[in-house]
Amino acid sequence: MAKVLVVTSGKGGVGKTTSTAALGAALAQMGEKVVVIDFDVGLRNLDLVMGAERRVVFDLINVVQGVAKLSQALIRDKRLENLWLLPASQTRDKDALTDEGVGKIIADLRINFDWILCDSPAGIERGATLAMRYADEAVIVTNPEVSSVRDSDRIIGMLDSKTVKAERGERVEKHVLITRYDSARAARGEMLGIDDILEILATPLLGIIPESQDVLRASNVGSPVTLNNAASAPARAYMDAVRRLMGETVTMMVPVERKGLMNRLLRRRAA
Protein backbone atom coordinates (compact mmCIF):
# COMPACT_ATOMS: atom_id res chain seq x y z
CA MET A 1 0.00 0.00 0.00
CA ALA A 2 1.27 3.46 -0.93
CA LYS A 3 2.43 5.81 1.78
CA VAL A 4 2.21 9.57 1.54
CA LEU A 5 5.03 11.26 3.42
CA VAL A 6 5.31 15.04 3.82
CA VAL A 7 8.72 16.59 4.43
CA THR A 8 8.01 19.80 6.29
CA SER A 9 9.48 22.26 8.82
CA GLY A 10 7.78 25.64 8.95
CA LYS A 11 11.12 27.43 8.82
CA GLY A 12 12.95 27.85 5.54
CA GLY A 13 16.49 26.81 4.79
CA VAL A 14 16.65 23.90 7.22
CA GLY A 15 17.05 21.24 4.52
CA LYS A 16 13.58 20.12 3.42
CA THR A 17 14.39 19.90 -0.28
CA THR A 18 17.79 18.29 0.28
CA SER A 19 16.19 15.79 2.64
CA THR A 20 13.30 15.03 0.27
CA ALA A 21 15.80 14.29 -2.52
CA ALA A 22 18.02 12.18 -0.27
CA LEU A 23 15.16 10.21 1.35
CA GLY A 24 13.45 9.70 -2.02
CA ALA A 25 16.63 8.45 -3.65
CA ALA A 26 17.48 6.24 -0.65
CA LEU A 27 14.04 4.63 -0.76
CA ALA A 28 14.45 4.04 -4.50
CA GLN A 29 17.94 2.61 -3.92
CA MET A 30 16.29 0.08 -1.62
CA GLY A 31 13.97 -1.00 -4.43
CA GLU A 32 10.87 1.03 -3.58
CA LYS A 33 8.95 2.83 -6.30
CA VAL A 34 9.05 6.50 -5.35
CA VAL A 35 7.67 9.82 -6.57
CA VAL A 36 8.80 13.13 -5.07
CA ILE A 37 6.48 16.12 -5.49
CA ASP A 38 7.63 19.73 -5.22
CA PHE A 39 4.90 21.84 -3.59
CA ASP A 40 6.89 25.06 -3.62
CA VAL A 41 4.91 26.78 -6.37
CA GLY A 42 6.78 29.81 -7.68
CA LEU A 43 10.09 28.83 -6.08
CA ARG A 44 10.70 25.29 -7.25
CA ASN A 45 14.06 23.76 -6.42
CA LEU A 46 13.63 20.04 -6.05
CA ASP A 47 14.23 19.68 -9.81
CA LEU A 48 17.56 21.47 -9.43
CA VAL A 49 18.71 19.46 -6.40
CA MET A 50 17.83 16.26 -8.27
CA GLY A 51 19.53 17.35 -11.48
CA ALA A 52 16.35 17.34 -13.58
CA GLU A 53 15.98 21.10 -14.10
CA ARG A 54 16.42 20.94 -17.86
CA ARG A 55 13.88 18.17 -18.31
CA VAL A 56 10.84 19.96 -16.87
CA VAL A 57 8.08 20.31 -19.46
CA PHE A 58 4.84 20.18 -17.48
CA ASP A 59 4.33 20.74 -13.77
CA LEU A 60 1.99 20.16 -10.82
CA ILE A 61 -0.24 23.14 -11.68
CA ASN A 62 -0.56 21.99 -15.31
CA VAL A 63 -1.87 18.67 -14.03
CA VAL A 64 -4.23 20.30 -11.49
CA GLN A 65 -5.65 22.51 -14.27
CA GLY A 66 -5.98 19.62 -16.72
CA VAL A 67 -3.49 21.11 -19.21
CA ALA A 68 -1.29 18.02 -18.97
CA LYS A 69 -1.80 14.43 -17.94
CA LEU A 70 -0.06 13.21 -14.81
CA SER A 71 2.04 10.81 -16.90
CA GLN A 72 3.26 13.73 -19.05
CA ALA A 73 4.42 15.75 -16.04
CA LEU A 74 6.28 12.97 -14.25
CA ILE A 75 10.05 12.96 -14.85
CA ARG A 76 11.92 9.71 -14.45
CA ASP A 77 15.31 9.93 -12.74
CA LYS A 78 18.25 9.16 -15.03
CA ARG A 79 20.14 7.16 -12.41
CA LEU A 80 17.36 5.30 -10.63
CA GLU A 81 14.61 3.88 -12.80
CA ASN A 82 12.10 3.61 -9.94
CA LEU A 83 12.44 7.27 -8.86
CA TRP A 84 10.20 9.97 -10.33
CA LEU A 85 9.76 13.71 -9.89
CA LEU A 86 6.65 15.86 -10.19
CA PRO A 87 8.00 19.42 -10.39
CA ALA A 88 6.33 22.60 -9.13
CA SER A 89 5.44 25.46 -11.40
CA GLN A 90 7.98 28.26 -11.55
CA THR A 91 5.75 31.08 -12.66
CA ARG A 92 2.11 30.43 -11.94
CA ASP A 93 -0.05 31.80 -9.17
CA LYS A 94 0.02 29.53 -6.16
CA ASP A 95 -3.74 29.91 -5.72
CA ALA A 96 -3.99 27.62 -8.73
CA LEU A 97 -3.20 24.77 -6.34
CA THR A 98 -6.51 23.47 -5.01
CA ASP A 99 -7.38 20.97 -2.31
CA GLU A 100 -9.43 18.85 -4.74
CA GLY A 101 -6.74 19.01 -7.42
CA VAL A 102 -4.02 17.85 -5.05
CA GLY A 103 -6.30 15.16 -3.62
CA LYS A 104 -6.95 13.77 -7.09
CA ILE A 105 -3.23 13.67 -7.99
CA ILE A 106 -2.29 11.96 -4.72
CA ALA A 107 -5.08 9.41 -5.19
CA ASP A 108 -3.84 8.65 -8.72
CA LEU A 109 -0.22 8.34 -7.59
CA ARG A 110 -1.20 5.96 -4.78
CA ILE A 111 -2.13 3.38 -7.41
CA ASN A 112 1.32 3.23 -9.02
CA PHE A 113 3.83 4.10 -6.31
CA ASP A 114 5.01 2.71 -2.98
CA TRP A 115 6.03 6.12 -1.62
CA ILE A 116 4.79 9.63 -2.39
CA LEU A 117 7.10 12.24 -0.86
CA CYS A 118 5.71 15.77 -0.65
CA ASP A 119 8.36 18.49 -0.37
CA SER A 120 6.64 21.31 1.50
CA PRO A 121 7.43 24.98 1.00
CA ALA A 122 8.45 26.99 4.07
CA GLY A 123 5.78 28.83 6.00
CA ILE A 124 2.27 27.84 7.03
CA GLU A 125 0.38 29.13 4.00
CA ARG A 126 -1.52 27.29 1.28
CA GLY A 127 1.41 25.39 -0.26
CA ALA A 128 2.52 24.06 3.12
CA THR A 129 -0.98 23.10 4.25
CA LEU A 130 -1.68 21.35 0.93
CA ALA A 131 1.64 19.49 1.04
CA MET A 132 0.65 17.96 4.41
CA ARG A 133 -3.07 17.66 3.68
CA TYR A 134 -3.12 14.02 2.52
CA ALA A 135 -0.09 12.76 4.45
CA ASP A 136 0.01 9.43 6.25
CA GLU A 137 3.39 10.25 7.77
CA ALA A 138 5.46 13.36 8.30
CA VAL A 139 9.15 14.07 8.53
CA ILE A 140 9.72 17.32 10.43
CA VAL A 141 13.14 18.68 9.46
CA THR A 142 14.65 20.57 12.38
CA ASN A 143 17.96 22.35 12.93
CA PRO A 144 19.42 22.54 16.45
CA GLU A 145 18.47 26.19 16.65
CA VAL A 146 15.70 27.95 18.60
CA SER A 147 13.74 29.40 15.68
CA SER A 148 13.70 26.07 13.86
CA VAL A 149 12.49 24.16 16.95
CA ARG A 150 9.76 26.71 17.57
CA ASP A 151 8.50 26.45 13.98
CA SER A 152 8.64 22.65 14.12
CA ASP A 153 6.40 22.76 17.17
CA ARG A 154 3.91 24.88 15.26
CA ILE A 155 3.98 22.48 12.30
CA ILE A 156 3.41 19.50 14.62
CA GLY A 157 0.29 21.29 15.87
CA MET A 158 -0.92 21.69 12.29
CA LEU A 159 -0.23 18.03 11.44
CA ASP A 160 -2.44 17.10 14.39
CA SER A 161 -5.33 19.32 13.32
CA LYS A 162 -5.30 20.31 9.64
CA THR A 163 -4.67 17.03 7.82
CA VAL A 164 -7.31 14.70 6.40
CA LYS A 165 -6.14 12.02 8.83
CA ALA A 166 -6.50 14.34 11.82
CA GLU A 167 -9.98 15.38 10.71
CA ARG A 168 -10.97 11.71 10.57
CA GLY A 169 -9.74 11.28 14.14
CA GLU A 170 -6.63 9.36 13.04
CA ARG A 171 -3.02 10.33 13.57
CA VAL A 172 -0.35 11.32 11.10
CA GLU A 173 2.76 9.40 12.13
CA LYS A 174 5.37 12.03 12.87
CA HIS A 175 9.18 11.83 12.91
CA VAL A 176 11.79 14.45 13.66
CA LEU A 177 14.83 14.55 11.36
CA ILE A 178 17.61 16.68 12.81
CA THR A 179 19.82 18.20 10.13
CA ARG A 180 23.02 20.25 10.20
CA TYR A 181 23.98 18.69 13.49
CA ASP A 182 27.44 19.33 14.85
CA SER A 183 28.09 16.87 17.67
CA ALA A 184 31.25 18.65 18.81
CA ARG A 185 29.43 21.95 19.25
CA ALA A 186 26.52 20.22 20.99
CA ALA A 187 28.96 18.55 23.39
CA ARG A 188 30.42 21.94 24.22
CA GLY A 189 26.95 23.25 25.02
CA GLU A 190 26.99 25.69 22.13
CA MET A 191 24.16 24.02 20.27
CA LEU A 192 20.90 22.43 21.40
CA GLY A 193 21.43 18.73 21.95
CA ILE A 194 19.38 15.88 20.51
CA ASP A 195 17.81 15.21 23.90
CA ASP A 196 16.79 18.84 24.30
CA ILE A 197 15.08 18.94 20.91
CA LEU A 198 13.27 15.63 21.36
CA GLU A 199 12.10 16.50 24.84
CA ILE A 200 10.74 19.85 23.70
CA LEU A 201 9.01 18.49 20.58
CA ALA A 202 7.89 15.20 22.19
CA THR A 203 8.19 13.47 18.82
CA PRO A 204 10.28 10.38 17.98
CA LEU A 205 13.58 10.76 16.17
CA LEU A 206 14.02 9.48 12.62
CA GLY A 207 17.66 10.38 12.16
CA ILE A 208 20.50 12.80 12.74
CA ILE A 209 22.13 14.29 9.65
CA PRO A 210 25.52 15.79 10.45
CA GLU A 211 26.61 19.16 9.14
CA SER A 212 28.71 18.20 6.13
CA GLN A 213 30.28 19.57 2.98
CA ASP A 214 29.00 16.50 1.15
CA VAL A 215 25.45 17.87 1.28
CA LEU A 216 26.41 21.08 -0.52
CA ARG A 217 28.64 19.20 -2.94
CA ALA A 218 25.75 16.90 -3.86
CA SER A 219 23.30 19.73 -4.53
CA ASN A 220 25.98 21.58 -6.53
CA VAL A 221 26.10 18.73 -9.00
CA GLY A 222 22.37 17.96 -8.88
CA SER A 223 22.55 14.56 -7.26
CA PRO A 224 20.88 13.38 -4.04
CA VAL A 225 23.64 12.88 -1.45
CA THR A 226 22.84 9.17 -1.04
CA LEU A 227 23.66 8.73 -4.76
CA ASN A 228 26.48 11.21 -5.06
CA ASN A 229 28.60 9.83 -2.24
CA ALA A 230 26.95 6.84 -0.60
CA ALA A 231 29.83 6.37 1.83
CA SER A 232 29.66 9.91 3.20
CA ALA A 233 28.39 10.59 6.72
CA PRO A 234 25.16 12.34 5.67
CA ALA A 235 24.38 9.65 3.07
CA ARG A 236 24.74 6.92 5.70
CA ALA A 237 22.50 8.89 8.06
CA TYR A 238 19.81 9.24 5.38
CA MET A 239 20.04 5.53 4.53
CA ASP A 240 19.56 4.67 8.21
CA ALA A 241 16.58 7.05 8.41
CA VAL A 242 14.99 5.33 5.41
CA ARG A 243 15.45 1.89 6.98
CA ARG A 244 13.61 3.19 10.03
CA LEU A 245 10.82 4.53 7.79
CA MET A 246 10.54 1.02 6.35
CA GLY A 247 10.10 -0.41 9.83
CA GLU A 248 13.61 -1.66 10.58
CA THR A 249 15.18 -1.03 13.97
CA VAL A 250 18.50 0.68 13.38
CA THR A 251 20.72 1.90 16.22
CA MET A 252 20.81 5.69 16.29
CA MET A 253 24.26 7.08 15.59
CA VAL A 254 25.69 10.43 14.75
CA PRO A 255 27.83 9.63 11.73
CA VAL A 256 31.08 11.56 11.80
CA GLU A 257 33.19 12.96 9.03
CA ARG A 258 36.76 12.10 9.81
CA LYS A 259 38.25 8.74 10.61
CA GLY A 260 39.57 8.21 14.10
CA LEU A 261 36.68 9.92 15.80
CA MET A 262 34.50 7.45 17.57
CA ASN A 263 30.91 7.32 16.44
CA ARG A 264 28.71 8.41 19.25
CA LEU A 265 26.14 5.86 20.18
CA LEU A 266 23.01 7.45 21.51
CA ARG A 267 21.22 4.24 22.51
CA ARG A 268 17.91 5.53 21.34
CA ARG A 269 15.49 3.81 19.09
CA ALA A 270 13.36 5.37 16.46
CA ALA A 271 9.70 4.74 17.01
Binding site: V146, R150, D153, G157, G189, M191, L192, G193, D196, I200
Partner: protein, 92 residues
Protein backbone atom coordinates in the same frame (compact mmCIF):
# COMPACT_ATOMS: atom_id res chain seq x y z
CA UNK B 1 29.98 15.08 33.15
CA UNK B 2 28.06 17.37 30.82
CA UNK B 3 27.35 19.80 33.65
CA UNK B 4 31.01 19.81 34.61
CA UNK B 5 31.94 20.60 31.03
CA UNK B 6 29.44 23.41 30.98
CA UNK B 7 30.86 24.80 34.19
CA UNK B 8 34.37 24.79 32.81
CA UNK B 9 33.35 26.28 29.49
CA UNK B 10 31.25 28.91 31.20
CA UNK B 11 30.02 31.45 28.72
CA UNK B 12 30.11 29.30 25.60
CA UNK B 13 27.40 26.95 26.92
CA UNK B 14 24.42 28.85 25.56
CA UNK B 15 22.41 25.71 24.75
CA UNK B 16 20.83 25.49 28.24
CA UNK B 17 19.57 29.05 27.83
CA UNK B 18 18.11 28.16 24.41
CA UNK B 19 16.41 25.15 25.90
CA UNK B 20 14.85 27.07 28.77
CA UNK B 21 13.65 29.91 26.58
CA UNK B 22 12.04 27.45 24.17
CA UNK B 23 10.30 25.54 26.93
CA UNK B 24 8.72 28.68 28.34
CA UNK B 25 7.76 30.07 24.95
CA UNK B 26 6.25 26.84 23.61
CA UNK B 27 4.24 26.24 26.77
CA UNK B 28 2.68 29.64 26.14
CA UNK B 29 2.16 29.16 22.39
CA UNK B 30 0.62 25.72 22.76
CA UNK B 31 -1.89 27.28 25.17
CA UNK B 32 -2.82 29.88 22.62
CA UNK B 33 -3.34 27.30 19.90
CA UNK B 34 -6.98 26.54 19.31
CA UNK B 35 -7.95 29.47 21.47
CA UNK B 36 -9.69 31.47 18.73
CA UNK B 37 -12.10 28.57 18.32
CA UNK B 38 -12.73 28.38 22.07
CA UNK B 39 -13.36 32.11 22.36
CA UNK B 40 -15.67 32.07 19.35
CA UNK B 41 -17.67 29.26 20.88
CA UNK B 42 -17.91 30.99 24.25
CA UNK B 43 -18.99 34.19 22.58
CA UNK B 44 -21.74 32.50 20.57
CA UNK B 45 -23.13 30.67 23.58
CA UNK B 46 -22.98 33.68 25.93
CA UNK B 47 -24.71 35.77 23.27
CA UNK B 48 -27.45 33.15 22.91
CA UNK B 49 -28.10 32.96 26.66
CA UNK B 50 -28.17 36.72 27.26
CA UNK B 51 -30.26 37.35 24.13
CA UNK B 52 -33.02 35.22 25.56
CA UNK B 53 -33.62 37.96 28.11
CA UNK B 54 -32.16 41.14 26.70
CA UNK B 55 -32.13 42.57 23.19
CA UNK B 56 -28.45 42.85 22.29
CA UNK B 57 -26.30 44.10 19.49
CA UNK B 58 -24.11 41.05 18.71
CA UNK B 59 -21.25 43.40 17.84
CA UNK B 60 -21.21 44.66 21.42
CA UNK B 61 -20.30 41.32 22.95
CA UNK B 62 -16.56 40.96 23.47
CA UNK B 63 -14.90 37.86 24.93
CA UNK B 64 -11.21 38.12 25.68
CA UNK B 65 -8.69 35.78 27.28
CA UNK B 66 -5.54 37.01 29.00
CA UNK B 67 -2.92 34.44 29.85
CA UNK B 68 -0.76 35.15 32.85
CA UNK B 69 2.09 33.17 34.27
CA UNK B 70 0.04 31.63 37.09
CA UNK B 71 -3.58 32.46 36.32
CA UNK B 72 -5.47 33.42 33.22
CA UNK B 73 -8.51 35.66 33.10
CA UNK B 74 -11.57 35.47 30.92
CA UNK B 75 -13.09 38.87 30.28
CA UNK B 76 -16.64 39.15 29.00
CA UNK B 77 -17.74 42.64 28.03
CA UNK B 78 -21.39 43.06 27.03
CA UNK B 79 -22.79 46.45 26.20
CA UNK B 80 -26.48 46.60 27.06
CA UNK B 81 -28.74 49.30 25.62
CA UNK B 82 -30.50 51.63 28.09
CA UNK B 83 -34.00 50.64 29.07
CA UNK B 84 -33.23 46.95 28.93
CA UNK B 85 -35.15 46.49 32.24
CA UNK B 86 -38.33 47.16 30.33
CA UNK B 87 -37.63 44.49 27.79
CA UNK B 88 -36.85 42.18 30.75
CA UNK B 89 -40.20 42.98 32.35
CA UNK B 90 -41.98 42.49 29.06
CA UNK B 91 -40.32 39.13 28.61
CA UNK B 92 -41.13 38.09 32.17
Amino acid sequence: MMNLLRLIRGRSASAPVARERLQILLAHERGLRGQPELLGLLRTEILAVVSRHVVLDPEKVVVRMERGKHVSTLEVDIEVPNGFERSLAAAG
